[in-house]
Symmetry: C2
Subunit: 302 residues, 2 copies
């Protein structure tokens, strides 16, 4: 399969490397890592075993790649206004677009630009960071849940699941992409938000009763907003407990937003906070703590 | 009047200096500034005019002072567990105790230790910081509102109001000390809390719509909790607007808690946050944002 990676951060590079290692024809749109990767290849340091791709097809501009079968979008969401410029040259008659980006609203914007029938959404549960140029550090997880943006097309999903699975990714399809997105937000909103604001890893946040309770209250606000969106199956409140226990096992993990803030990079506040707040508001769900966290993050990074 | 100052921070030193300048017999319990003040005196740099008291009676221990007519308490509230040790040696038959400390719960604790009939509460609206040892910088305001802890004793209040007024302090008596305390919290909770958390002065906090709205929402939670305490006259919601406009005129003022956190000092979270939250909770008033702010402050300074 001819695949282009748009947004070659830790996520795009990691999944792209796994797909290339499995024999697919990968094309990476690169910026920061262009020189290092086209000269020395791509190095993955992974809990599942390190590997290097000595030869990687890297590009500075999408038009040098041309049409592909699949565009895998791993952009930070604040770069979504570059969708048209970055993706249009990659579109052929049957090109599919898979977004593994964070938050809400990405499929909607892609669908408006390129047609809803092309769009597949994916929720990635991946702990990975970029290291030096040409290096990715895969620290944990890696699971992907895929869903169609519009109903139908199950065969297409099955094929993508097979491709990812054979490449070594724990991948499954869901009939309720919306629910999968919101489930990820139940984790992302409290942990990315609070760890970025306080500059503390997850274990420090979960140790005292008071901040652990705050994490749980934020989760319950997200669950309430999710369940107001007409999910096929609502998210149970017990999902919050499961996520707390799951995170207890992550040690002193730093969520990506914490690292981004520490390194002075822009944060994905619109997709991870503003869009869910907007979805909640439209359904009349009060999310005072999520709103306050978004305001504090904006204010702290102004 | 023979007066002892217990808790000689910016507030204690400032009001003590004004009272001494007006001819009262002042005795300062000192720690950090003992050497500088007993050697060189006390320098007040004030928007109302600078002045120096070349001779100041400073002490390291309360028993060296002995009984006084009035104890003025300016301690940081986290030092309240030293009340007995610091104040007991100052108590004579007719000694009155005036606390100008922040937050809730100070009069109650003093009343338990020394008898409710001795206790007068005061709410000080003062912008002042300590500078080098022996120096106080008075930046703005200075108003004091005094109230009896238990009903009666208006003559006593009138006399204190007269003493402060003649010493150059804008001072008045209130029949509803509780309301005055809560009114100050309407300002203290959002501004001390958010400025300390974000390390931003009040003008940065008030500039963007979103954080200005958050300040207002915090104020409304405090007003709701206040009005559940059986005040003689409830605090109107419009008081929040007045405090916002009042603060707009303060420029890039840094609340004391912001400075305390920047300098690594302990914060008055118990008196300014935990106690009001507790009062609100007992009356069934939801204060999600105030509670979240308290949790974030605790967590940030852990």
């Amino acid at each position: 399969m001819r695949i282009a990676i748009v947004g070659a951060g830790a996520l795009g590079l990691y999944y792209g490397a796994l797909l290339q290692r499995n024999g697919h024809d990968l094309h990476f749109l690169l910026r920061r890592d262009f020189d290092a990767i086209t000269r020395d290849g791509l190095k993955i340091f992974s809990i599942h075993g390190d590997f290097t791709l000595p030869q990687v097809q890297g590009y500075r501009q999408a038009k040098e790649i041309g049409a592909v079968d699949l565009v895998l979008v791993g952009l930070k969401t604040f770069a979504n206004d570059h969708y048209a410029e970055l993706i249009t040259p990659l579109i052929g008659e049957r090109t599919q677009i898979l977004t593994l980006q964070n938050g809400l609203g990405n499929e909607e914007t892609l669908a408006e630009l390129f047609g809803a029938e092309r769009i597949i959404g994916g929720v990635a549960f991946l702990c990975a960071n970029r290291g030096a140029p040409g290096e990715v550090h895969h620290l944990g997880e890696g699971r992907i849940v895929l869903g169609e943006y519009q109903p139908g097309g199950q065969w297409r999903l099955d094929r993508l699941v097979e491709i990812f699975s054979k490449s070594g990714v724990d991948c499954r399809a869901t009939g309720d992409l919306k629910r999968a997105r919101w489930e990820k937000l139940v984790w992302n909103i409290p942990f990315n938000g609070l760890c970025a604001l306080l500059q503390q890893p997850v274990n420090l946040l979960l140790a005292p009763k008071s901040s652990r309770r705050l994490v749980r209250e934020l989760m319950l606000e997200v669950i309430a907003a999710a369940n107001a969106q007409g999910l096929t199956h609502p998210i149970a409140e017990s999902y919050a407990e499961r996520m707390l226990e799951f995170t207890d096992n992550m040690g002193e993990y730093k969520p990506s937003m914490q690292i981004d803030r520490a390194e002075g990079r822009q944060l994905e506040i619109a997709a991870i906070f503003a869009a869910p707040l907007d979805y909640g508001r439209r359904k009349g769900v009060a999310m005072p703590r999520v709103e306050m966290l978004a305001t504090l993050l904006e204010q702290a990074t102004r």
